[in-house]
């Protein structure tokens, strides 16, 4: 026993410093990304071309923004199931506001995000003040958001398309060759890293995830922190929806549905504990890229939807079995 642990120590000791400090889950996730790229390059050398990789990062950025919000909720030990229709609501409201002339097109993005803030507030009040399990509150607010959007659109897809500003944000390029969506994701990521590692709020989020009682007794206003976290999650979901509307150049019903489960999976594959309190933001980035690459490679290989779903599920299970297992509790 001691021999093996000594050997493990010596392997660890020989690693360069940044690898030694890194979370094994994050390293594994990045390793899997490289493995996927390698396997893809055996199939076609296009998988390593800068164009393809940039395109993948651009597609990943929508999921990335949503997953950033999801991660805050999961770090608390809660979950946000209202992502699909908050995304859709954000996108639809942004498109709707843009209909009001010049002021409208300026206000489009803030309006969409504000919509997400409102739903986040609803979730936050339910979880933090009414102490309803987050799973059920966010589920209910998802249904409410869906209901509002169905009433608003009259059951049809709205005709109004995404305003130019939103389209520019998702598909334009300030720096030539680098899509804006990636820059936006980068901006959100920097803000998230700062928020989670350099602020009292971030500390409190990790603290509540580990033990809300302990955080409360240490003088953290846990209810306020939880509510803020859900507001952030809602705002980022809606923002992701706005970006997606810009990319697809219109908002559509159910456009957020394919983002709920991947965003949870991305956070968890990145090594964040679903029970809260543990996880780093870089892991989430790795998880997002991993899932996007996996989906892309499977679709380039022209695998039918059925096979894609199966491979997708199996890969998640295998990766979780590799490093997402709970410690044996006896």
């Amino acid at each position: 026993m001691s021999e093996t642990s000594e050997r493990r120590m010596s392997i660890r000791a020989r690693l360069p410093g940044f690898l030694r400090r890194a979370d094994p889950a994050v390293v594994t996730a990045f390793g899997c990304i490289l493995l996927l790229l390698f396997l893809g390059s055996l199939y076609s050398s296009n998988f390593l071309s800068p164009d393809y990789l940039l395109q993948q990062l651009k597609v990943a950025s929508f999921l990335g923004v949503v997953a950033a919000g999801m991660m805050v909720a999961i770090l608390l030990g809660h979950i946000d199931l209202s992502v699909p229709w908050v995304m859709t609501a954000g996108a639809m409201m942004a498109c709707a506001v843009a209909g009001f002339g010049d002021t409208g097109s300026v206000a489009a993005i803030p309006a969409g995000v504000l919509c997400g803030v409102a739903f986040g507030l609803l979730n936050g009040i339910g979880v933090a003040f009414l102490r309803i399990p987050s799973m059920i509150v966010t589920l209910a607010s998802n249904v409410v958001a869906q209901g509002l959007m169905v009433v608003y659109t009259g059951g049809f897809s709205p005709q109004d398309s995404a305003p130019p500003a939103v389209r520019w944000l998702a598909t334009g390029a300030v720096v030539p060759g680098l899509p804006n969506a990636i820059l936006v994701w980068g901006g959100v990521s920097v803000a998230m890293v700062f928020l989670l590692t350099r602020t009292a709020f971030g500390r409190a989020v990790y603290g509540i995830g580990n033990s809300e009682r302990a955080a409360f007794l240490s003088g953290v206003g846990t209810r306020r922190v939880i509510m803020t976290a859900f507001v952030i999650s809602g705002a980022l979901s809606a923002f992701g929806g706005v970006l997606l509307a810009g990319y697809a150049s219109k908002a559509a019903q159910a456009m957020g549905d394919p983002y709920l489960l991947p965003s949870i999976a991305a956070v968890v594959l990145g090594g964040t504990s679903i029970l809260g309190g543990r996880g780093s933001y870089f892991g989430t980035v790795a998880g997002v890229i991993l899932i996007t690459l996996l989906q892309s490679i499977l679709s380039v290989m022209q695998m039918p939807e059925a096979g894609r779903q199966i491979v997708y599920g199996v890969v998640i299970i295998v990766m979780l079995l590799l490093y997402g297992r709970a410690p044996p509790n006896r």
Binding site: I79, L81, G126, L130, R131, I132, P133, M135, I136, V137, L139, A140, S141, N142, V143, V144, A145, Q146, G147, L148, V150, V151, G154, G155, E212, R213, F216, L217, A254, D257, L261, I264, A265, V268, I274, L275, P304, E305, A306, G307, R308, Q309, I310, V311, Y312, G313, V314, I316, I317, L320, L321, G324, R325, A326, P327, P328, N329, R330
Partner: protein, 326 residues
């Protein structure tokens, strides 16, 4: 405290679910143009019974403090399987039914193995298996189609003696054959104990693993039964992603309405059935009140929101603020 008080305390959630359902159903029937007739009851029963099966499946897993986000997909997968094999004469159909239920159990067993022996968190593990099950369903039915033994289907979705909806009879039979024996067995007790406090259950020597595994296994079986009934109602199989995820989400809502605690250890599958019928009646009630169909999802959401907020009234009785935290 005398014995019945304990019983009442234990059944409080289930009785709450029953009360919510009864209030809703009475309001619904009172406002229905046709009133309390066999037809109205029959339609309501057939609509509710699908969600009731899926909600029972969810309840079994939730009682162990887990959650199964793949129930909806097991439901869709078994629907697709049934549309292939529950056909022909009596014997092949019967074998087909057995095979469909076995497939449901297999799905539940995979979930159970991953959660218990793989030590994965139920939320993520079942998200992943749900994707696999949906993929399999899509493999079986890339396009909606297939058929089912129509005599059997009509027998199980029609009425007995012209009054009693036979789907309700089937549901009752399942409760008597599957749920009650489980509830009363050592394994069932272990499932409750594991959900209530796993370390305490372990210290008391309960067969935790067997209990949890049985819960997941029977959950798969019940979801499969739901899929079978879906085939009986629609005569076809369809790998519909939207329907699968909607059933998963509403099963969680039904479980909560039926008084099963998401923290585990409290509630019963019977409560989940009432929760499922209550959730279904919300939709119907708006129809009876002649609300525009467009407003239905919104009002349903608001009713759900109010229903889940009722539980937080208990906060008013909390004396020590530390009791806020579970």
């Amino acid at each position: 405290m005398s014995e019945w008080r304990f019983w009442l305390n234990e059944q409080r959630g289930t009785l709450m679910g029953l009360a919510i359902f009864l209030v809703m159903f009475v309001v619904y029937v009172a406002n229905h143009p046709a009133g309390f007739t066999a037809n109205v009851v029959h339609t309501a029963a057939n609509k509710g019974v699908l969600l009731a099966f899926v909600a029972m499946a969810q309840a079994l897993v939730v009682i162990t403090a887990g959650i199964d986000l793949s129930v909806g997909m097991i439901f869709v997968l078994t629907n697709c399987i049934a549309s292939w094999i529950v056909v022909g004469a009596a014997v092949p159909s019967a074998l087909g039914v057995v095979a469909v239920l076995a497939a449901g159990m297999l799905c539940g067993a995979v979930n159970g193995l991953l959660v218990i022996y793989g030590r994965l968190q139920p939320i993520v593990a079942t998200i992943a298996t749900g994707a696999v099950y949906f993929g399999l369903a899509l493999l079986l039915r890339p396009f909606p189609g297939g058929s089912v033994n129509e005599e059997l289907a009509d027998a199980l979705t029609g009425r007995l003696f012209g009054v009693i909806p036979s789907s309700l009879v089937a549901l009752t039979a399942v409760v008597l054959i599957v749920w009650l024996p489980f509830r009363r067995s050592v394994v069932g007790r272990a499932a409750y104990a594991a959900g209530s406090s796993e370390p305490a259950a372990f210290m008391s020597g309960m067969p935790i693993r067997r209990g949890k595994f049985a819960a997941y296994l029977l959950g798969g079986l019940l979801a499969g039964m739901g899929g079978l009934f879906l085939t009986f109602f629609t005569y076809t199989g369809e790998a519909a992603y939207a329907s699968g995820s909607a059933y998963t989400l509403w099963s969680i809502a039904a479980v909560v309405l039926g008084g099963v605690s998401l923290y585990g250890g409290r509630g019963s599958a019977v409560g989940a059935i009432f929760g499922a019928f209550a959730a279904r009646t919300t939709g119907d009630m708006l129809f009876a009140f002649d609300v525009e169909p467009l407003w239905q999802p919104l009002l349903q959401g608001i009713v759900l929101m109010i229903a889940v907020s009722i539980g937080s009234l208990a906060l008013l009785r909390v004396r020590n603020r530390l009791d806020w935290f579970q």
